[in-house]
């Protein structure tokens, strides 16, 4: 008999080696997440996928599924926590959606829509951050970086390069690139690298493509992120 966990009372099978997130996604159960993409080593940093496992809070993307686990996800308490986390992500950076070309295709925004987040709740931080537009085809807008490290992992694990890294701690944490000048143009990044296209927000953008799809006709304008994620992200060991 195969091993199972329950998520919000629903029995879900899993294979050894799968995390709770893997098992959930394979069973078409969406757990909100931003720093996780199934093809990369889990990072466990955004904490949006926090679930209650046998009474304790864990990140679903890093926590191994084990037989008989009782997992709670869509409880009022956890949904409220996720909304607060998303609000903190918004106030910590400079996320001005009306002036961002990623709007409508942005996963940070889409998770906020999914959680029906209507306000920021917290005081705004308005950090002083730069834009690196040095590269001919790719730009980094540090104002929008949420430190998910997806670009770091994609560069290492898919592109076979080492273009991005996170540096500093706490409020001083920031994305850096692998060049003595600190500029993207002096790295070996290529516009076709997966690292360039994996950014869940508008922090890494391909130049001159931002408005090819009009606002109002973008991914999350009519589809919720749970549907999009379940249809496009394929966990380990397949569906």
């Amino acid at each position: 008999m195969s091993k199972t966990i329950t998520i919000d009372g629903k029995t879900i099978p899993f294979e050894d080696g799968q995390t709770i997130m893997d098992a959930a996604m394979a069973a078409d159960v969406y757990i909100p997440h931003l720093c996780h993409q199934p093809e990369f080593t889990p990072h466990g940093s955004c904490k949006l996928c926090t679930v209650k496992v046998n009474g304790r809070n864990c990140s679903a993307c890093t926590f191994p599924a084990m037989d008989g686990q009782d997992v709670l996800s869509e409880t009022k308490e956890l949904i409220d926590d996720r909304k607060k986390i998303t609000q903190m992500l918004f106030v910590e950076g400079n996320h001005f959606c009306p002036s961002c070309e990623k709007t409508g295709n942005c996963q940070l925004q889409a998770v906020a829509y999914h959680l029906n987040m209507l306000d920021n709740h917290f005081p705004l931080f308005y950090p002083d951050r730069n834009v690196d537009a040095s590269h001919a085809e790719v730009m980094i807008d540090h104002n929008r970086c949420i430190f998910c490290a997806l670009c770091v992992r994609a560069s290492q694990q898919t592109d076979g390069k080492n273009v991005f890294a996170l540096s500093g701690r706490g409020i001083h944490k920031h994305l850096i690139v692998n060049a003595e000048s600190g500029l993207l143009k002096d790295t070996d990044v290529d516009v076709n690298d997966q690292a360039v296209h994996i950014c869940p927000t508008g922090a890494i953008l391909v130049k001159r493509t931002g408005y090819q799809v009009p606002i109002g006709e973008r991914i999350y304008d009519h589809q919720q992120i749970d549907q999009v994620a379940l249809a496009s992200e394929h966990p380990k060991h397949g569906k």
Partner: protein
């Protein structure tokens, strides 16, 4: 009808785009004014709030006058609503927040391209600028938030009809946009 619901509106550090979007409810405005009476608002030109049921605030606070107006609204409105991106997070005006105020003024009034007779306005009638543009929930308690740049006419309509008909206001997925 006696005892109409009293609504006040204002634009602080906003562009009046939210007010224009409100007017996009078009002929539904006729239904609205059956039950609603406008108090202080750019639509009525009334200059100060009296006691109101609902206050709609567009824009964040960028100067001392914005703060006074916001407090007047809070003191007079039972329900105060942050309308649009700027009221909620400062919006595009807040993109000046990481530039020192003096540099902003110099660029606008002294060194900018095409400036004639350069001088920084300092008339006593002019409200003083704040060093940063701030969202309104940092200044007064806000009861409801309508995101969007601007919120669509349907957002205004859904919110106001919910309130007027005694329901807890809620916005379905299709009406929640930050852009």
């Amino acid at each position: 009808m006696a005892n109409k619901i009293r609504v006040a509106t204002t634009s602080l550090a906003g562009c009046f785009g939210c007010h224009m979007s409100f007017l996009d409810i078009d002929e539904r405005m006729l239904q609205l004014v059956e039950v609603v009476e406008f108090d202080r608002s750019p639509l009525t030109d009334i200059e100060h709030c009296t006691h109101c049921d609902i206050g709609l605030i567009e824009g964040g606070v960028c100067n001392s006058e914005n703060v006074h107006v916001l407090r007047e609204f809070r003191n007079n409105c039972k329900i105060l609503v942050a309308v649009g991106a700027c009221a909620i997070n400062g919006g595009l005006p807040a993109m000046r927040n990481h530039i020192p105020l003096e540099e902003c003024l110099n660029e606008a009034y002294l060194d900018g391209i095409g400036v004639e007779n350069p001088q920084i306005p300092s008339d006593i009638e002019l409200p003083l600028l704040l060093d940063q543009v701030r969202p309104i929930h940092e200044v007064v308690k806000i009861d409801y938030f309508l995101p969007g740049c601007p919120p669509s006419a349907d957002v205004f309509w859904k919110f106001l009809t919910d309130l007027i008909e005694g329901r807890e206001p809620s916005l379905p997925y299709e009406l929640v946009h930050y852009d």
